[in-house]
Symmetry: C2
Subunit: 349 residues, 2 copies
Amino acid sequence: MMQLPAIFEIYKPYIEKEIKSLLSNTELLKISKNKIALYEMMAYHMGWADENGTKVISNSGKYLRATLALLSCESICGDFKKALPAAAAIELIHNFSLVHDDIQDGDEIRRHRPTVWKIWGKPQAINVGSAMKTLANLSVLNLQRNNIPPNKLIEILKILDESCLRMLEGQFLDIDFEIRPDVDIADYLKMIERKTAALIECALQIGAVTVINYSKIKPFKNFGKYLGLAFQIRDDILGIWGNDKKTGKPSGNDLRKKKKTFPIVYVLSNADRISRQNFLKIYSKEIIYDEDIEKILDILGNLNIREISEKKTEEFYNLALAEIKKLPVNTEKIMYFEEISNFLINRDF
Amino acid sequence: MMQLPAIFEIYKPYIEKEIKSLLSNTELLKISKNKIALYEMMAYHMGWADENGTKVISNSGKYLRATLALLSCESICGDFKKALPAAAAIELIHNFSLVHDDIQDGDEIRRHRPTVWKIWGKPQAINVGSAMKTLANLSVLNLQRNNIPPNKLIEILKILDESCLRMLEGQFLDIDFEIRPDVDIADYLKMIERKTAALIECALQIGAVTVINYSKIKPFKNFGKYLGLAFQIRDDILGIWGNDKKTGKPSGNDLRKKKKTFPIVYVLSNADRISRQNFLKIYSKEIIYDEDIEKILDILGNLNIREISEKKTEEFYNLALAEIKKLPVNTEKIMYFEEISNFLINRDF
């Protein structure tokens, strides 16, 4: 199993402490007379509590976006703590999107556990996600604690909400593409630039702009874009060929959902006519069964789609590496960005 | 039919122009190759476009919250335009909550038309609502256009997101109460203070704080609280005894959904044992049919629940009127606040 770079482990307790302090509202628990209310449902989603609200040491996420925000801050000024409220904000935005995404896709399992909607129903899960988005914005205001001036907060909130809006545009396109037969690679890239890359770009930018001038953050955005594209195609690969014990999601899930991921869009827009027709014969069925998945995997195998997808990931990875060299950061920190990039395109979880 | 106070009509074109400019993104339309994408779905919900994206003069809302924000600003400084981006923000937050609320409640009709989820499905409707919330935050940043300084923007964003969070807590409680048998009037009031009053308070506060010191806005919050409580109980009354041609929602809707509205909570916690048992016999049924609704209306009628509910509305209305006198506004503007309050508790739509 591919090891998580050490920097993730260093930041983790700080990120968790920052977000946990935002979820510490217990008033609602008293009114609802339940063991678990809105904030405890968020803690459950984050992997910090079980479904009765009892604290657990469970499967939290990697905190990739918060880690990128903290690293971009530290690589400039040497102190990652300055950006902690911004890091918490981007991580909350990401998790808001996951909670809603699970509702939208009907996914019942995330990080090896039932999803929020699966336990408490879709109506409450919608509230849980929306509340996380709202807490993200409030978290940014906590930067005042670190003497970050109001105009900086405004810059960060602008980047955060513009990125969030792009992410939502990406979610819109992702769902829109499900029923559209003519999606090509260019469409797909516009979709994942929004759905995935926008928040990665955002994380790097808000960590940086906390401590340097707004006019200097463009290289962080460029790096984030290519890293995000590579990250998503790797995700698409894992969604088809990944090991469910490692990814925490059922294998073949993306195929069962007929998602327009990179491998699929590639077949639909680049394969020879016969292969495409064979593929569509299965992929356009109402329900995809296990034996259909076997057949799809055979077609993808014959067309070397996994190798083609991995090559595309590497292409974006190399573009990301080139952008790292342009970052206005201390040279001894460059290796951290490289290490994270390397992990992201080779990870199996 | 009760007439809308004139101030609503004066502000309306400005509010619409401000919000429409936020929805003018057409890039997504090109990528999705549809006649209607994320932003056009928002315009549909607002009543400005039909389901093909064609502009229509339709049933928009009253823009109550935006109107309150503009009035509180104008009543202090004489110029409502200063607060337009803040007014757009609170109106967008309200409409974000409506789009999600319709999904959560499964409501198929709003303002005489099919709801967003009914046309484009729940997954896209979730995106539509979340994008409106995000645009609300971005709208506040447009206050810079009116030379409102960064520290003011921070104050407004803090009020906006704290209120939004309370509104979501209210939505949580509202759904939570549906399956709880022991909800009393105190619980109910804590729920609507959040679900409804929070955004009314917010509207008045952000309009005011745009032009006066943060330390002076407490009276606007107090007025908003009582106005919001009166407003919601009036809404509950219309949800049971309202005319569907006027409200734009099917009559008996709240009863069919077994909502814990004021009249129902009153019966459950204050009626004599026999009436309560008779009521519960019907209200605890899996499905409520038309003949059940007749029976419920009979029980409510025998117990004078409509009169009791109207009396409660008036109680909060009188508290609101008393708070108006404490507002730090020009005395000749007081009548506008009174006129709106009067309209809200007597309205039939």
